[in-house]
Amino acid sequence: MAGFGFACLVLALVVCAYGIWASLYGVRSGRMEYADSGRRSVYAFAGVISVAVLVLEIAFLGNDFAFNTVADTSSRTTPGLYKAAAIWSSQEGSLLVWAWLMSLWSSLALFLTRKRIRDVAAYATAIMLGFGAFFVFLMVAYANPFATTDPAPPEGVGLDPLLRFPTMMIHPPMLYSGYTLCTIPLAFGMGALLARRVDAEWIRAIRRFAFAAWLFLGAGIMLGALWSYSELGWGGYWGWDAVENAALLPWLTGTAFLHSLMIQEKRGMLKVWNVSLVLATGTLAIMGTFLVRSGILDSIHAFGGHTLGVPFVILIGALIGGSIYLVVSRREMLRSEHRLDSLLSRESMFLLNNLVLVGLVFVIIWGTYFPLISEALTGREASVGPPWFDRYTVPLALVLVLLSGIGPVIAWRRATLANARRNFLVPIACALLTLVLLLSGFPPGVTSKPLALAMFCCAAFAIASIGQEFFRGTRARRAMAAEPAPLALVALVRRNRRRYGGYIVHVGMAVLFIGVAASSSFQHTKELQLSPGQSARVGSYEVRYVRPTATLTPKFDTAHTGSTLSLGAVLEVTESRAPARHVATLEPSEGFYSSDEASQGSVGSLIGGQPVSHIAMNVGVTRNVWTAIEPDIETPALKRIVTVGDKTLPPEDGIVAVAYLAREYLKHPPPAEFNLLVSPLVMWIWVGGLIVVGGALIAIWPAPSAVRRRVAARSRARSVGGLARA
């Protein structure tokens, strides 16, 4: 069946080539049946790639280790869910998933626009199929997911232990969906420029896809942060890692685009901004995909083996060069139809918002790519760490949160100072009240962190401003429709989904930033060695090491992590001040996995793989208590067990020595290294993220067609009637 899978790739490449030709020929000659045939090529491409994905998934689920991809990333003992998800854990499989998701979104976009902007859609079809051809070509020429080994090995290597967590099942598909969705607005943006049709219609066609890309990317980033915090042993959720930044960059430009597209829709302004942002978002998404396949990085995100850097660099170069050419050559038709009426207007705030977001993008691009380029050219390792990023991004983030509260309160076109004063009264009062509360010493030490203090006040301003919007909107609705308040609120949101969905997103971002500011500025951390019976104080908590733990797979490995041996500790957490209330019992552990190195011996190879920390934490509304352990298995007594076992036991009996090691560890536990953290308000980062997702779904959700028709008809009648009265 591997041959059939590869045949699907070749057929997909042929379909892409035909579709590109047919779309371009159709739109240039006016023979739209060829453009329609090109559109259908996208559907066919999606179908063929889906068959290829199905072939590979069947191979994973059926343990067909003749497939190299299956042998390298799965095994008979890998749980079923992880087997199904292992397809995207390899370079080859992830390229196939990328092409598949892109084909599905492209098909959906073209289906929804099949009766509109046909000239723009034809060019967009050619571009989307171009991306499809690129990724399929990579698979055919460099990284074939259907490559086989004959004879097939009897067992696979298994999934990387770091990926054996439920959040890792969702994080990659979310990110891939976000990246691939970014190509849709890029394709339509280029199509609009090529067709010389830069009105608001193409924006209207792709607005939901741009929003969906933003939503999926954001969800993928949040899930990655959650995985980092919950599963990795460093206790943080964001490290300004190159791959994290690469996903954040298109999300930031996408955020700017979602705001400024409203201005083009309403006022015909910021056309250059919008096409530039949409092209930048798509290009940055490709750059993010490139980063983990270029061979530059050595991280859990990087796909080792083949380097696809050169083809990606060519594609990115073509995208950047083509984008610049198109924008410059069409600059006359991209002129704004109107000018800014007033600096005190929502348009001005959106423009300022764009400038801040683009500023953030430039800072992060510099901090991410410059060290990599410098190292590639000079051979000297260069790095820019979190303190550098924080120095420049935190002030910009403060401005963004402030703008998220100012924008909703200012009218379109122009606002008067008197109105602005009236509308800002409550939000400013809330911000000042927050400041007074914090300065009065609650919580302790807050005044020593001025940036965190500023963030709390800005967030309070933003949340109060949006709360005021909901209150006034509901009041206005009640006055018009005489509805009870709850119904009026629901009707208000339903009739103005984009506006109020966006407001909810702003609230979510403010809540998220409160969590980030608190957890990063007021965290208590301690790294130390403890023996059973010993205690340590961290923040306002006492952590006591009660006793060690040891488990052997498979019977006791409830997390299905696949570790041969898991050593850990039972920790009792109590409040440090009297009456020392019990808070939680935590059981952090570290898993020791099998390695591929037979030279490590029959016992050593069972536990010689990369150890993985399994953290334990107590989650609370106001704080999290987070613990990680690094047991010491290198003591002379434990090493002797391994050495003797390696010399005397055959491979099939190595587990006996491991069991003896575990028993010895429990009887005479050596001191272990502990990492203890107390982080305030971490939970609110994830709550903020959920609020953002909820708001985005409201904003993106289409109104039922009957409601759309009624609203359009009423607006039409009132427009005509209003002029008659005037």
């Binding site: 047919a22 018009m480 002029l723």
Partner: protein, 121 residues
Amino acid sequence: MGLLIALLTLVLVGLVLAIVSAPLRRARASSSSEPARDLRAPAGAGASVTPAGAPAALQAARVREELEAAREAKYREIRDAELDYRTGKLSAEDYRAIDADLRTEAIEILNRLERLKPRDA
């Protein structure tokens, strides 16, 4: 196994050809049953025109799409302005001025739409 793979591949190729060629077959069928083609007909399936840039029908459709998009955007602006007024972001005087401007612009768009040829059924 080789025969099975070959058969599956042939079936897939056949499906792809059927999907991709459908518009071309429809165009050929409609052009063979209607020898005298009206180039002013909308550019639906089967329309075939001289390769002298965008056909007139396609251009008309493009103008209509732009005006319809502008109309929907103008309705949204009118609703947003009213909501801004009712939530206290605009004074009564500013609202009246903006609303009058927007309604004038909306009428102009509606008039331009009316002047376009109606769509064929």
